[in-house]
């Protein structure tokens, strides 16, 4: 199976690889997937407390090229968005942007789950109620 150029580009030049300080109150961390399934994503956001805007986002991913590209793209999209906007990022827009084939859609779902998990972690740390999400049908 051939990868799209955008997937290859994110794989070769991943954006925002790294780790944010979990100990900080304005950092939210989402860890999704499982080693047995062949993909694990960790996505982190750092929120500007004054404005509610995501100032920084970082990821680390264990997985195939599409999983790496999905999380790299997600961090790009997160930066500069408000937390409320970020929660609306849909996996299908990742699929479209990266031109993922059907067998790789689960990579985009994982990225969406990672975003939501990071936001909920941030909300929890700051005394906000965790958002409830519908079970993703693709899993």
């Amino acid at each position: 199976m051939a990868y799209s150029e955008k997937v290859i580009d994110h794989y070769q030049n991943p954006k925002n690889v790294g780790t944010l300080d979990k100990g900080k109150n304005n950092v939210g961390t989402g860890l999704v997937g499982a080693p047995e399934c062949g993909d694990v994503m960790r996505l982190q956001i750092e929120v500007d407390e004054a404005t509610g805007i995501i100032r920084d986002a970082k990821f680390k991913t264990f997985g195939c090229g599409s999983a790496i590209a999905s999380s790299s793209l997600a961090t790009e999209w997160l930066k500069g968005k408000s937390v409320d906007e970020a929660v609306k990022i849909d996996n299908m827009t990742i699929v479209e942007e990266l031109n993922l084939p059907p067998v790789k859609i689960h990579c985009s779902v994982l990225a969406e789950d990672a975003i939501k998990a990071a936001i909920n972690d941030y909300r929890k740390k700051n005394g906000l109620e965790e958002l409830q999400f519908e079970e993703s049908p693709v899993h």
Binding site: Y3, I8, Y11, P14, V17, T19, L31, V32, G33, A34, P35, E36, C37, G38, D39, V40, M41, R42, K60, T61, F62, G63, C64, G65, A67, I68, P102, V103, K104, I105, H106, V109, L110, D113, V138, H139
Partner: protein
């Protein structure tokens, strides 16, 4: 100058040796006859070529030419041997013993026979990928008609103890079939010394063309018979009907002749390159060899690089290096290699494996390039891997509650 891409997937298929192609060419055009045409020179010429090739093939495995049945390849040979024995020996019993790291052509054939009333025992292998001989003997019952154990495994390259297996089979009067695809032409295989009654093998794994293979069927001590699976003109002593693929068979014969002459020197040279590659890659932190280190083919090594995923890893170099991974990361199949799992590897290690298959035309320069690029990609992906970071922080990954999906 190093030419890219480099081919290190010789367990999947091999290029044709130019000497093989040269031998085949006349049989497409001038000598195009049907080997079954008994009444004119075109037919005689084709038949003569097939007879010669049959001798070349037989010689490589220490068989008599009459014991060679040409097929379309090893999948057909596996089917013909197992189904053919099951039908032919139905009055004797319905039990077949095989193992859980066989090729799909054997496993699926067995599963199919189960639907028709066969009883199949799928033996587990030991963590090194070899069969447990005591377990094999213990599995034999009065209804056992066949033991089907591969000569060498396609993913990890381990070589099964065929002589010990066949000694046990002989003792109990059970036939031995082996899928010899990966072994024949690479290491010495002798059907008499090894006690093999039936063996499937194929040309394209030994520098011959695709679409042609053979089934060895023993004619003496004991005389073995299989029920034909394809009906027709009664070619190949009635066991495999269908017009013979004369150019393919000629190429197969030539490939066997070359293997017989060059196997020893090839194996020596290739295993040195394999060892160089393997030693260098096992120096990478948290990398593990899969399968037995001693009893194995000279050209294969299968290594897991913990905390990186195989498909993602291959993407780092697969434009320039062709090899294979035990990981299948698709929503259709999240299951990693069943062979590696059968060795008792955790899913994480099975997902992290690469299979390197060297060949006759592999050079040291290619191996040096591969060492450098695989190592760099592993390191790069580990920098990106949350699991590697956790490992480095001393976190036990088994204590984490993963969200399975």
């Amino acid at each position: 100058m190093l030419k890219l891409p480099i081919y290190l997937d010789h367990n999947a298929t091999t290029p044709c040796d130019p000497r093989v192609v040269e031998a085949m060419v006349p049989y497409f055009t001038n000598a195009f006859g049907n080997a079954a045409s008994r009444n004119h020179p075109f037919g005689w010429q084709a038949e003569e070529a097939v007879d010669y090739a049959r001798e070349q093939v037989a010689r490589l495995i220490g068989a008599d030419p009459k014991e060679i049945i040409f097929t379309s390849g090893a999948t057909e040979g596996d089917n013909l041997a197992i189904k053919g024995v099951y039908e032919m020996y139905a009055s004797k019993g319905n039990h077949i013993i095989t193992c859980n790291i066989e090729h799909k052509a054997v496993l699926d054939t067995c599963r199919n026979l189960e639907k028709e009333g066969a009883e199949i025992t799928y033996l587990d292998v030991k963590p090194n990928g070899l069969i447990d001989l005591a377990a094999l003997e213990a599995a034999i019952k009065p209804t056992t008609i066949l033991i089907a154990i591969m000569y060498a495994n396609n993913e990890i390259g381990t070589v099964m103890p065929m002589r010990e297996i066949s000694a046990i089979a002989r003792k109990h009067g059970v036939l031995v079939f082996t899928d010899g695809v990966q072994a024949v032409g690479k290491i010495p295989v002798d059907v008499n010394k090894d006690g093999i009654d039936l063996m499937a093998f194929t040309a394209h794994k030994m520098y011959g063309p695709k679409g042609v293979g053979a089934l060895y069927v023993r004619r003496k001590n004991p005389r073995v018979k299989v029920t034909a699976q394809i009906d027709g003109g009664g070619h190949e002593r009635g066991m495999r009907s269908g017009t013979l693929n004369v150019p393919g068979i000629v190429g197969f014969g030539k490939a066997c002749e070359i293997c017989l002459q060059e196997m020893e020197s090839d194996a020596k040279r290739i295993s040195q390159l394999r060892d160089k590659l393997e030693n260098a890659l096992l120096k990478v932190e948290e990398s593990y060899l899969n399968g037995d280190k001693e009893s194995r083919l000279p050209h294969v090594t299968n290594i897991s690089f913990k905390y990186v995923e195989g498909e993602g890893l291959m993407m780092g170099f697969n434009k320039n290096i062709a090899l294979s991974s035990g990981s299948a990361c698709t929503s259709a199949s999240l299951e990693p290699s069943y062979v590696l799992k059968a060795l008792g590897l955790g899913d994480d290690l099975a997902h992290s494996s690469l299979r390197f298959g060297l060949g006759r035309f592999t050079t040291e320069e290619q191996i040096d390039y591969t060492i450098e690029h695989v190592t760099n990609t592993v390191n790069k992906l580990r920098e990106m891997s949350p699991l590697w970071e956790m490992f480095k922080d001393g976190i036990d990954l088994n204590t984490i509650e993963w969200a399975h999906h």
